[in-house]
């Protein structure tokens, strides 16, 4: 019984994390039809800059509670700088190319940013453990969890709900949905499509960086975390159906629970379990759980 509770709680925590890292990816794909491998680098950039800025804040002797603000500021800055640079500087010249070519373009960006990170922060790991333990912990039965995990869960829900609200209730969001359905028709109706793309990519980049910043206190920040995370995000996004927000949420919960069950009962299968679910879902529903039927073009 106790183990089942642990599986559920661990699974939900992991799901929250998965959703946070995957939501920006699915948003960008949904609007721009770009499966952005560089999302992994934005995640890593967010983690590094959060570790650096919050670490600096704490080392300067400021009250450690401010480190959360420092993490957030770092992530938003990364998104605001890297997003526009990548979109305006590169991607806008690539629109209209094949989806696979766009994947390769973002793969190239990923490679470049991987080395940029090594040049900027070196190859030694960074540790930012204070924010993780600062909030104390809570008990469920005889299991103890850091409160930070609740923050993770809260942020995931907050991001999901506010994105859903923006998309369905606001004018700007409805315009976005119009662009998703038919880019050319939306442009003909007077929607500034390139502005929508620009905004979407920047917000998506910011979400990736926030994911990294929130993860930084839980891991050792070192080279390779971007590559590790982007495949997980791929799994979530593809299972949910590319571009679908509710799909990503459902997929995150599914993958989170499966992985947590694997970790508890058959620890040697944890990575296997995730990609096994991905393969099974793709085999059963080739376009993911929440996919839109497309007309066949001749």
């Amino acid at each position: 019984m106790n183990q089942l509770v642990a599986v559920l709680i661990d699974g939900l925590i992991y799901s929250s994390w998965l959703f946070i890292i995957a939501v920006g990816l699915t948003l960008i794909y949904g609007v721009m039809k770009i499966l952005n491998i560089a999302h992994g680098s934005l995640y890593a950039l967010g983690a590094y800059s959060a570790a650096a800025l919050a670490g600096y804040w704490i080392n300067q002797g400021h009250p450690p509670i401010g480190s959360y603000a420092a993490m957030l500021v770092a992530a938003i800055l990364v998104g605001l700088i890297a997003g526009p640079v990548i979109e305006r500087g590169l991607l806008r010249f690539m629109y209209g190319k094949d989806e696979i070519v766009l994947v390769l373009v973002t793969y190239a960006v990923f490679l470049i940013l991987e080395d940029f990170i090594k040049l900027a922060w070196g190859v030694d790991p960074y540790f930012l453990y204070q924010p993780y333990s600062l909030l104390g912990s809570f008990d469920v039965g005889d299991l103890t969890y850091p409160v930070y995990n609740l923050v993770l869960f809260g942020v995931a829900v907050l991001i999901g709900v506010s994105l859903a609200w923006v998309l369905t209730k606001t004018r700007r969001g409805k315009m976005l949905v119009a662009v998703i359905h038919d880019r050319e028709m939306a442009a003909a109706m007077g929607i500034n499509v390139s502005l929508v793309y620009f905004m979407t990519f920047t917000v998506g980049a910011m979400l990736g960086a926030v994911g990294g910043a929130l993860t930084a206190p839980m891991i050792s920040v070192q080279p390779g975390i971007g590559a590790e995370t982007i495949v997980l995000a791929f799994a979530v996004v593809v299972i949910g159906g590319l571009g679908s927000l509710p799909g990503a949420a459902l997929a995150a919960v599914l993958v989170g629970l499966v992985r947590s069950a694997a970790v508890h009962y058959r620890p040697e299968l944890d990575l296997f379990a995730i990609y096994f679910v991905m393969a099974v879902v793709l085999i059963m529903r080739p376009k993911g759980l929440f996919s839109v039927q497309e007309a066949r073009k001749i």
Partner: protein
């Protein structure tokens, strides 16, 4: 009709490499061996890309080939190169024939993602298999060739080099012949318009399936040869970044001719080995930039430079 010099060039390169092999310094021999292993994998990648599908999980077969060759010694105490290569071919052919039944229905990003999932499944399993060294992998040594002992002899390096050269040569010749055959020529048509190919009475899925199996076997061969020549294998061979590299080199080289993948791999491996030496933290940056430049200005890859020159002449 333009004359095709590909087979002649291949023959000349084969003779030149085999003759020059004993004179080459060890590092050059190793570099050529590794680029030929890599080139064999990329040759398979090219075969697949000609039909318009891109696999982001070809590391699966690269790794499978290497482990099929490597585990022979662990499981059965067999370490003959010929048997190892044969095992790699068999295992990858069977696995790709089965997975191909699923993958042949997928296109574009979904093909890329499903193959990615398969390769990550293998990665996830191998990383946790402590009997095979988990994430560290294990060392592989080929001790005999057709029952004759080569390990420890002075010809060991050269023999492995020669076997790699011969295998790559045979693979290139076979694929060159295949590309000129009826089924080989269907690839371009499928990439352009599948529906029309079906109306003509050819099966798109069968063609993709056959190309998939062939490209998997080539990747497996490349993996097995790499295992023998490098002497070490690890699960990283099935990680998505390895598969990404194969796609990268295939794009860089272009899909116009069977020579292109080998040329691309040689350039790639040369840059890699020098970059590791002099600038380990910026070489991926150089790779990424090159890839962007190729995508923007040379969509046909480096090989299209040659075809352009020939057209101009």
């Amino acid at each position: 009709m333009r004359r095709d010099y590909t087979l002649r060039i291949l023959g000349v390169v084969l003779v030149a490499l085999l003759a020059a092999g004993p004179l080459l310094p060890r590092w050059a021999m190793f570099l050529i061996t590794v680029s030929l292993c890599y080139g064999t994998v990329v040759l398979g990648m090219m075969l697949l890309m000609r039909t318009g599908v891109v696999s982001f999980g070809h590391g699966l077969y690269y790794c499978l080939g290497a482990y099929a060759a490597g585990t022979l010694d662990v499981l059965f105490g067999v370490s003959d190169i010929a048997v190892m290569l044969l095992a790699a071919i068999l295992v990858t052919a069977v696995v790709s024939a089965l997975l191909g039944l699923l993958l042949r229905k997928y296109r574009d990003i979904f093909f890329a993602m499903l193959s990615l999932a398969f390769s990550m499944i293998l990665y996830g399993l191998l990383v946790k298999t402590s009997a095979l060294g988990s994430s560290d992998g294990f060392n592989v040594a080929a001790k005999t060739l057709f029952g004759i002992r080569i390990a420890g002899t002075e010809f060991e390096r050269y023999l492995i080099f020669a076997i790699t050269v011969l295998t790559a040569f045979l693979a290139a010749v076979c694929i060159h012949k295949y590309l000129a055959s009826h089924m080989g020529r269907l690839a371009g048509a499928i990439r352009d318009n599948e529906l029309r190919v079906e109306y003509m009475g050819a099966s798109v899925r069968n063609t993709i399936h056959v190309n998939y199996i062939m490209s998997a076997v080539l990747a497996g061969l490349g993996g097995a040869l790499a295992a023998v020549s490098v002497g070490h294998i690890d699960p990283e061979m099935s990680y998505w970044t390895t598969s990404g590299e194969f796609v990268f080199v295939a794009i860089l080289a272009g899909t116009g001719n069977v020579l292109a993948p080998f040329l691309g791999s040689f350039i790639f491996e040369t840059i890699r080995s020098f970059a590791y030496e002099y600038s380990p933290n910026t070489w991926q940056m150089a790779l990424g930039t090159t890839m962007l430049l190729v995508i923007m200005f040379l969509p046909g890859g480096l090989w299209s430079l040659f075809t352009r020159m020939r057209k101009a002449a």
